[in-house]
């Protein structure tokens, strides 16, 4: 009797017959603790296991998840969430406001890697079991957007397993185990080797495909992953190297799904140095906007996209991709114009060029080294003298942070999927206390942008807010503070018969996958 019942439920939950999905990605999430790792691989995997109050739909729009609705409290004092009833964790406990408060305390704790999300929050209250009120220090129109990856944990489970706080350095029970409310639960976890997810029958939602079991294997070497996909050992890989996309597309039984990612690749400049790090003699030519504009004109982005990126990426003139909220429409950047670049250099007094350091990571972004090698040639072609160097990201960030750089390559993916995010991290004058400009390695400083940022953050009216974002975007172009190059492409390889949804945040939602045949 019981078996029959289970089978009936299963049949209802999984429309087209249970299927197994074997998928691979380059990076294994370093933890299963949603507060111990603030990175895309962690959220991508855990997004199938844990849920937040809100989530992003297929189009990236915020939609209800564990909260069925929300509304501002008063005049921007905070937000009130109404929780979904009848939700149970994988362990069987019911989900209530107590868990939300616990999850807030955990995620915003000192030990947490996600505490910055809660910087605007002053307090969290739970008036009843299914209502939660989150108060912010200032009106915060994008707060709901910023917590899409804030995952709800079971307070009882955490207490029972001594995992009430995340522990990045030592690890704890939550590092290897997960207990969420999401459509999949983790049944096996071997870090770096294999993670098995199985469909959770008690999930509250119904928007799901037929993947019963999903086996995740990290495969660092993308070429190996491609080989495994081609030989049928894997059903889905992410990413397919752009140069292999054509081959994969042509191969029998597999195809490529392309999209654009949230990540914008750009060049950064040393704005606040008196002398160049890799230069000779005094002075910093990059403080002259004409020099930066010359660089922008010198880089032949279409050619890079055509060859190195195989036509898979889109050029961009601002720091966010068109899929992000707050994207400025109709903005044009600098075209490829080497003559103009030479003119600008001559105007600035550097007709003969000058030496400077040009640094790039070689294991961080898609084809980063090849892109930089191409840029290096292009800079040399307008008479500049870059001293080009690439290194693993493990060395790259420390050197950037130690200010050992002139021109450098940077990719930025806004965690909030909002144009405000890069302004806060990349364009604000660096300020440790206010946690501003923490990735603004060049020390770019513009009073108008510093003034606009708080206004953008608290403006509730979308039109007014967009106007301010547009203004910042235009300042960026005029000033050539950074040279945005392109939006990094998303290229997944799948076996035929696998239907899926590819979102710009590169998260893999198993519930949207159906395996046919």
């Amino acid at each position: 009797m019981r078996t029959v019942l289970t089978a009936a439920i299963l049949a209802a939950a999984l429309p087209a017959g249970a299927a197994e999905l074997r998928f691979a990605s380059t990076t294994d999430p370093n933890t299963l603790d949603p507060n111990a790792g603030n990175s895309a691989p962690v959220f991508s995997l855990l997004g199938n296991v844990y849920e937040g109050l809100v989530r992003r739909g297929r189009d990236m729009a915020i939609e209800p998840a564990l909260a069925t609705s929300w509304e501002p409290i008063g005049d921007g004092e905070g937000w009130r969430f109404t929780l979904r009833e009848g939700v149970t964790f994988h362990g069987g406990e019911a989900f209530t406001s107590e868990d939300v408060v616990f999850s807030y305390e955990r995620a915003s704790s000192e030990e947490s890697d996600t505490s910055s999300w809660f910087a605007p929050v002053s307090r969290v209250e739970a008036p009843d079991d299914f209502t939660v009120e989150i108060y912010t220090t200032a009106p915060n129109p994008i707060f709901v957007d910023s917590i899409a990856n804030w995952m709800m944990m079971d307070s009882g489970w955490a207490a029972a397993n001594d995992a009430e706080r995340p522990n990045i350095e030592q690890g704890n029970f939550a590092t290897l185990n997960a207990n969420g409310t999401g459509p999949y639960r983790v049944t096996e976890r071997q870090p770096g080797l294999r993670t098995v997810l199985e469909a959770y029958d008690g999930w509250w939602g119904d928007d799901r495909g037929n993947v019963e079991t999903a086996v995740f294997t990290p495969v660092q070497n993308s070429a190996t992953a491609v080989a495994a996909l081609l030989s049928g050992e894997l059903d889905l890989i992410e990413p397919v190297p752009v140069q292999d996309a054509g081959r994969v597309d042509q191969a029998d039984g597999v195809s490529v799904i392309r999209g654009i990612e949230a990540r914008v690749i750009m060049l950064g400049f040393p704005h606040d140095r008196d002398t160049l790090y890799g230069g000779e003699g005094d002075g910093n030519p990059f403080q002259d906007a004409r020099v930066r504009q010359a660089v922008a004109h010198a880089v032949n982005v279409p050619a890079i996209l055509q060859t190195v990126m195989r036509g898979s990426a889109e050029p961009v003139a601002q720091l966010v991709s068109p899929a992000m909220r707050g994207y400025t429409e109709g903005l044009t950047g600098y075209d490829y114009n080497p003559d103009r670049a030479r003119e600008l250099l001559a105007e600035a007094g550097y007709a003969d060029g000058f030496p400077f350091s040009f640094r790039c990571p070689n294991d961080r972004y898609l084809n980063d080294e090849a892109v930089c090698t191409a840029i290096n040639s292009m800079l040399a072609q307008v008479g500049l003298d870059p001293r080009f160097e690439t290194m693993p990201v493990a060395n790259y960030w420390p050197t950037l942070r130690a200010d050992e750089h002139d021109v450098y390559l940077l990719g930025w993916s806004p965690g909030t999927f909002d144009a405000e995010h890069p302004i806060r991290f990349l364009l604000s004058t660096p300020n440790e206390e206010k946690r501003l400009g923490s990735w603004n390695f060049g020390g770019y400083s513009n009073a108008r942008i510093d003034e606009l940022l708080p206004a953008i953050q608290s403006e509730i009216d979308d039109t007014a807010r967009q106007a301010m974002l547009d203004e910042v975007a235009n300042i960026l172009v005029d000033d050539a503070a950074y040279v945005p190059l392109y939006v990094q492409p998303l290229v997944w390889g799948v076996k035929d018969g696998v239907d899926l949804v590819q979102r710009p945040d590169n998260f893999l939602q198993l519930r949207w996958i159906s395996v046919n045949g």
């Binding site: 370093n30 933890t31 111990a36 790792g37 603030n38 990175s39 000192e110 890697d113 996600t114 505490s115 910055s116 999300w117 522990n167 990045i168 350095e169 030592q170 690890g171 704890n172 590092t175 290897l176 071997q190 870090p191 770096g192 080797l193 294997t217 495969v219 660092q220 070497n221 070429a223 190996t224 992953a225 080989a227 495994a228 081609l230 030989s231 049928g232 050992e233 294991d363 693993p392 990201v393 493990a394 060395n395 960030w397 420390p398 942070r401 965690g415 991290f425 440790e432 946690r435 923490s438 990735w439």
Partner: protein, 325 residues
């Protein structure tokens, strides 16, 4: 013998300490672990707190001393990347590497010795010459390229063999083995060829030259002069004597197999300690790197010790202690 082992062990400890020191001093240049541990939205306070918690603010020598102190108790610390005890991780990964190294070493040894003997006995034959020349291809291409080519041919084009990983493994207590499943065995083929090819060539060439040397010895002549069969002369007399120098070099080569496993494991995504190490370098996971290096050194020292014992076992001239003819 005992004195020998004690002296060896003493030297080994010094070697281990030196390796540890060298390794540890190297880590400071690999990068900053904090960058890999915290996400892009972390704050300066987060960084500082974590640095302090990980002991990264201590002077280098203090870090080394505390690492050594704990290592002596079998505690290699907690992996930065996985937030788990390094000892657990290494134990978990070791079977994969050891099985791969074992199969490669076995291939290298058996094929190396067999082909070495063959080419020595048929010194001027065309087959021997072809084997000798062809074997050089094995040492004339980088390991990673051989791996990639094997994957391309046997994995992608012919689709005969798996391209990555260990296949299905069976748990035997804390040990996991790929020997008991068909997919596990199939998965072993390409990586072990890739890893063993180079060593096989070296062993084969060494066996050949030592064998040629031994075949010229008086006692082989004398064995021939006594009318012993070709089999007895070549194997009972010549091969056994050939093994003495071969054992030493082979020991070193087997040690090298484990070291070379880094590249093979990277190419084949073989979930062993070599891959673990490369990941650790990528993520600046200092405790894992340190433990790996110590492990390699210990293995090397052990292999050396085994070689020495074998040496004595094979060669009766070394067995006499105190007696004098």
């Amino acid at each position: 013998m005992l004195a020998y082992i004690i002296r060896r062990a003493f030297q080994s400890v010094i070697v281990l300490l030196a390796v540890g020191l060298v390794a540890f001093s190297m880590f400071r240049f690999v990068g900053d672990p904090i960058e890999q541990l915290l996400g892009q939205e972390r704050t300066v306070q987060d960084v500082e707190r974590l640095r302090e918690a990980l002991g990264l603010n201590d002077p280098f020598i203090v870090q080394y001393a505390s690492f050594l102190g704990r290592a002596l108790q079998g505690d290699f610390g907690i992996s930065y990347r996985q937030s788990r005890p390094v000892a657990d991780i290494i134990l978990e990964r070791a079977p994969a590497t050891l099985e791969l190294a074992f199969v490669s070493g076995f291939l290298a040894l058996t094929l190396g010795i067999a082909l070495g003997v063959f080419t020595a006995l048929r010194r001027d034959g065309w087959a021997a010459n072809i084997i000798m020349s062809a074997s050089l291809i094995g040492v004339s291409l980088p390991t990673f390229l051989i791996g990639i080519l094997l994957i391309y041919v046997f994995g992608v084009q012919l689709q005969w063999l798996p391209t990555f990983g260990r296949g299905e493994v069976v748990d035997l207590g804390w040990w996991t083995t790929g020997f008991l499943t068909a997919s596990g065995l199939k998965s072993l083929i390409l990586p072990s060829i890739t890893l063993g090819l180079f060593q096989m060539t070296l062993i084969m060439r060494l066996v050949r030259s030592e064998m040629l040397e031994v075949l010229r010895q008086d006692y082989v002549r004398f064995a021939r002069a006594r009318g012993l069969s070709a089999r007895a002369v070549n194997f009972r007399h010549a091969l056994k004597n050939t093994m003495i120098p071969v054992i030493t070099v082979t020991g070193l080569q087997l040690g090298a197999i484990i070291a070379f496993a880094i590249i093979t494991e990277t190419v084949f995504q073989w979930p062993g300690v070599g891959l673990l190490f490369i990941n650790a370098v990528q993520f600046v996971d200092i405790p894992v790197m340190a433990a790996y290096l110590m492990l390699i050194s210990v293995m090397f020292v052990l292999i050396n010790l085994i070689v020495d014992v074998l040496y004595v076992w094979v060669d009766p001239r070394l067995r006499i202690d105190g007696r004098h003819a």
